[in-house]
Every structure is written in structure tokens, then in C-alpha cells.
Symmetry: none
Subunit: 208 residues, 4 copies
DNA sequence: GATGAATGAGGATTCATTCAT
DNA sequence: AATGAATGAATCCTCATTCAT
């Protein structure tokens, strides 16, 4: 708990790191300023030299936590853009999950926001999720040669993968309790990622 | 907001209903006793005539919210138990989602618990999720004739469907912001349910 | 300080009494909730069972403190309405001051507000002071036969008396330090009141 | 608001000017160090290079704000010392008010202190107000030939004029709300000053 | 002189809970 | 079964002040 949260970094960064971890684990109202400052090793008033209030700190954590995810997913989609049909699907899914795994707080924060539908939801949806979906849909339009799906379910395709992938990462605590192993550890994670990639393959296998 | 939460029901039931809705929307620490009693139309001390404290009320809400889900999913699985191969998969998925839709607070509560990994998580995992997974795995063992999957990914199959289905229902607020329509309304919901059922079908289509 | 503030009265009244005294002596921002609740003999949270917040408590104190002043002055003006010329002026002044003396917190609160020009000033001016001035002006119009003053200085007449009378009562702490006697005690107060009444008489003495 | 408070002056003077204005408008406890430094355009710690703490800054503001008033009033009294009877009264009153008008924060600060009776009151009373009163009384003794007043009400005379004159200037915010015009603007101020001078004349008009 | 970072003390207010009625 | 009044603990945040730079 009181891990000094990377003692070398400037205080502002340490606050962001501690806040990200705590907000992701306990939600906004479940995390107190004191929780965060205790984790950083400062007193509560010191936090206000770096952030004007809890809300703004949270907004910054949210943005900082989602930005790399979207950027990386975007880059992965770029890479897969010209790729041939079926192989593309499983590779995108696999890469996407690997990226989520490296930034597991983002999915948790996003799903907490998505469920509780708090104040930031509209902005998140507009700025992060909608572009992500649109990006995915356009990739599908160019690459799906399976003949299985009409264009108007492409958003559902992306949405389902979004729920599955973000859900797996965000729900790692539940996964651990259910399966007695850390869902983000190498082997279980690989198994799940590969399974999801295989479902993707099956989904875009040309219809007989 | 201040809907008197079914004026005819006994107070205890009205508290449970209001608490379920609020806990699902704002989480445990984001919901105050006053929020609940305001929704019911009583004063905070009156709540303590029916529940010993907030924690126990929450535990009861959680159980009451998850029990029907598990029971109904269980029943759906029973019905599909003897069903033939491929048709079974999409029917189970479709029925399961219809059931979730009727009790949308359950998925939200479960995912909030699953993310924040709070005190109830171990019990929930043991009592509700593990049996659900095991039930699904055994159904798969009896019915999967696709030749696509080895038995040790069956848990991943169920887990992925769990994330997708519970995620879609729990994240309806996010869905609404992203797609400008209520993901639980008839037509969008049917589209997503049918798409997921189709993916199930594709996943269990016998391999060529 | 910790006088129990009239132990018999209901808590709400005791809070109002303590708050009036403290706000009048130390101003709004110089008075803490704890100051008030200490004077009443309760803990700070108990105050919130009776008033929603400090601002509203202050507003209520202000209204409760000014209302009797205005009402009584109004009544005094009524009584003097039909009175003959000169005698009226000194009697109104004398009676008005006697009334202020009985409610000395009102002038203090009003002058603090009037100086700091805080949020309530506009409302106070409109609801309390303007009617008071207008009332005084109309009395002057009917009764001033001195031939000394044009009608357009009547507001200045009232304003000057307002400053003098409210000032004397509000500034009793300063008066005490300057003159080494309590300006609200019987004898010094009577001397000042009678002097002011005499000035009023001189001011409305028919011009030679 | 964020007027840089006379950019050319040395920081110390700019702090004094900003502090005077803010203390006069919001009182001691209603003004924070940050309010002052914001108005000056520096950060709070910089203030401590010029003043040891808030209390001492306030004391200096108070002295600096009252000193010119007293000096100027004193000078005005000197000038009127040899002046003949009746004309003197109105001239002193008129000149005194003109002086107050040029330093309107002094009256506000003084009345706030006089009402709240804070720590500085005794010193202020002794050092500033008492000499002022005594000076006025001695002028009256030498000049009052009206035969209207016994010598023991002379202090009341001065006190009443003090309340009226300081009150009018300090309460300019209230005046503005009540009369819809700035009480310190040329025309309204002149009207009030002349009225007060006229009352002075009437008060010292030889009795018939 | 000025500032960024820090802090102890205290600010108003909320919260879960109790208890007498 | 319900409530008004009360409270200890905790909430977010502000404040005056310090100190190293």
C-alpha cells in the first residue's frame, strides 16, 4: 500500500500513478485523497500543489490512462490495415489484448465509468470509444471477405470484442477468484488471448 | 429519481429495489444511505429497522440481484442440455442474454465487484460464477462436436461469453453514449443478441 | 462564551441566538460553525439537522435580526404620523434609538454587511432599508414645516440619521474604548439619544 | 480584480495597497493571503519577504490607512480654529468629509474594527479616535456660541458626526444599493456633504 | 526578492449509525 | 415501523506559514 510509488519520479507523476492504481481498484468515491497521498508518501494538502481538486485529478488520470490504449490500438489497426483477410482478425485481437495487458488500469477505469455512467462518460465516449469503434468498423469493411456479416452489424462486432477484451483485463480480480490463477499472468493470458483470436478467425472464416 | 419505488410493496422490498438500482448505478461507496431512503420516501433511521447496516444491505442486494440470474441461466442450460449441437449454442446465448436484459442491475453489480475486487468477491466467485462456468463447461463437453476446441479452453469459452454478455448489459450507459441508442431497447438489443448468437454458431460450426 | 444560550429553548432557537451574537461580533467569515455549536453546547454535525449550511443560517439570522427593527421603527413612525411638527422629529429619533438598543445585533450585522457588501446586500437594501428610507421620507414630507430643507434632501436626512443611530449602537465596542463607558448603558445612552433628538429638533426648527 | 496594483511601486507598497482595499471590503478573516498576493501578482511566500505575518500586515494597513485621515482632519481643525462661530461648523464638516472621501478605506477598516471589537480596537481608540474627539471638543469649546449645548454633550456632538461621516463613506456599498447611485460620486456626495454641513449650521445657530 | 513544495491546523460538510420518542 | 436529534469519524479542501532553492 505505502509503496513509495517510484520515489525518483517527480511528485506529480507519483500522484498520477498512485491515483490511477487506486481509482482503478476502488473507483472514484471509494478512493480518498488521503489514500492517494498515503501511497505517495506526502500529506493531503501537498496534493493540491499539483492538482486543483479530486475531480480534476481523476479526469487527468482517466485521460492519461486511456490515451496510450487508444494510441496503441490505433497503431495496431494501422499495421493490420493492409493485411489479408482472416489472418488480420486474429492478429488484431491478439495484439490489442497484449496492449491492454500492459496498461491494465485503463480498462478498469473505463468500465467503472461505463457502468456508473458518471460525469465523464459522454466525453470518453465521444473522444475515445467512438473513434475506436469507427476505426474498427472501417477495417472490417475493407477486409471482411467472409460473406457472413452484413455491414450494419460491424459495430456490434467491435463492441463485442471491446466487451470481451476490456472485460477480461478489467475483471482480472474476479478471474483470479474463479480460476485460482492470475488472468494476466503469462500462460493464462496467452491461452485466453489465443482463444479469442481463434474465435475471431472462426467468425471471419468464409462461409461454406 | 424520487419515484416512491413501488408504493404498495412492503418497505423492506422497496429498500431492496432502490438500493439495487443505486448500488448498480453508483457503486457501494458512491451510494449513501440517504440516497436510498430518499428514493424510498423514508428517513435514514427507518432503514435500520429492516437491515442492520449498509454492508449487510449491500450483501443482500447482491445476492438478491444475482440469484435469479444464475437460476435462470441454469434453467436455460437445462433446457439446452439435450439439444443438438450447433443450434444449442446460439439458443443458449440468446436466451441467456434475454434473461440478463430482464435483470440488468445484476451484471452491473457483478462487474463493479469484479473490477474493484471488494470484500464480497471471493464469495461471489465461489457461489455464483464458478458453478456457472462449470455448468457451461459440462454443457460444452456434452455438445461440442465442432472439433475446433480442446477441452481445456472450454472455461475460456464460457469466460469470454460471460464478459461479452454481462459487459453489454452492464455497460448500457456507455453503449448509449457511443451509439446514440439504448443498448437494452428492443431493436438494438435484438441486433446484438442475434449477432452474438451468430458468433456462437460460427464458433461451433464443425471444422472443415 | 460557552453560556448555554438559554438552555430551555429548542435547539434551533439556541443556534439562532448564538449565531446572531457571534456573527454580529466577528462577522460571517470570522465565525466558525464550531464557534456556534460550542456556544450552544452541541457538536457541529448537529447544527445541520436544523440548518442546511452556514450561508442559510446566516441569511436566517440576518432576517430574524432585522425584521423586528424594521417592524418596530415602522410602528414608531405610524405613531408619529399625525404628530405635530417639531415634537415629532425628536420623538421618532428617541424612540427609534430605544428600539435599536433592545436589538443591538441587528445594527452590527447590517453595518458589517453594508461595509463588506457581501452577497446579501442587495436583498437587504431592497427589502429592509429602502422601505425604511421611503417611510421616513414620506413622514418628513407630511410634517416638515421648517422651511429649511428642499424635498430632494429628505433621503439624505433619513440616511444621516440611519448612519448616526445604527452607527452608535453597532460601534458600542469602539465607544466603550474611547469613552471608558458602555455606550448602551442607561445613562450614556440616554445622553446620546437626547442629544440626537435635540439635533433633530434644531434641524426642523422653523427658519427665522 | 487582478489589477496589478500600480506596477511601478515597490512590491511592499503594492502589497499594502492591495491589502488595504481587500481588508476594507472583506474584513480581516474574509481576506486570505492568497487574495492579496493574487491582486499584487506575486505568490504567497513572497509576501513574507515584506511582512512577518498576516496580523502585522493588517496592523500596518490599519495604521497607514488611518494616519492620513487623522492628520488631515487635524489640519482642517487647525485651519478652522480661529474661524468665527457658525461658518466654522459647516466648513469643518464639509472639509472633513472631503478628506474621508479621498481615503475611503480608512472609514471602512475603522468601522469593521469598531464593530467586531477585535484585538486592535483598544490601540486604535487610544491613538486615533480619542485625540480626534478631544480635538473636536476643544474646538467646540472655543467656538460654540449658540447657547444650545452644555459642555458635557460636546463629546456626543463629535461622536455623532463621526458616526455620520465615517458611516456614509464606509457604507457606500449599501448606499449604492439603496439609492441606485454611488454615494461617493461627485453629485450625490456633494449633496450629502452639504446637507450634513447645513445640519451643523442649524445645530450651532444661536438659540432664539 | 521570489517561488515550488510541503505541512499542521482548521474550515464546512457528509456519513453511517444510535437512541429516545 | 418511523423519526428528530445527535455524534464520532471521515470527507474534500483552505489557510497561514516555512524552507530549500
Amino acid at each position: 500500500m505505502a509503496e513509495p510509488e517510484d520515489r525518483d519520479l517527480p511528485t506529480r507523476e507519483r500522484i498520477l500513478a498512485a491515483a490511477e492504481r487506486l481509482f482503478a481498484r476502488r473507483g472514484f468515491s471509494g478512493t480518498s485523497i488521503r489514500d492517494i497521498t498515503d501511497a505517495v508518501g506526502i500529506k493531503p494538502p501537498a496534493l493540491y500543489n499539483h492538482f486543483p481538486n479530486k475531480e480534476d485529478l481523476y479526469a487527468e488520470v482517466l485521460a492519461a490512462s486511456l490515451r496510450p490504449l487508444i494510441e496503441l490500438i490505433d497503431a495496431a489497426a494501422d499495421a493490420a490495415d493492409g493485411a489479408p483477410n482472416i489472418e488480420g482478425a486474429d492478429q488484431i485481437v491478439g495484439r490489442g489484448m497484449d496492449l491492454l495487458r500492459e496498461h491494465p488500469h485503463g480498462p478498469a477505469l473505463l468500465m467503472l465509468e461505463g457502468i456508473t455512467g458518471a460525469d465523464h462518460l459522454a466525453r470518453i465516449a465521444r473522444d475515445w470509444i467512438r473513434p475506436l469503434i469507427e476505426r474498427g468498423v472501417s477495417v472490417l469493411k475493407e477486409n471482411d471477405a467472409s460473406g457472413r456479416w452484413s455491414e450494419d452489424v460491424y459495430p456490434n462486432v467491435i463492441w463485442m470484442w471491446f466487451c470481451s477484451a476490456f472485460g477480461h483485463v478489467a475483471l482480472s480480480a474476479l478471474y483470479a477468484e474463479v480460476f485460482d490463477e492470475d488472468g494476466l499472468a503469462d500462460s493464462p493470458f496467452a491461452r485466453h488471448r489465443d482463444f479469442m483470436a481463434a474465435v475471431a478467425t472462426a467468425s471471419f472464416e468464409p462461409k461454406r
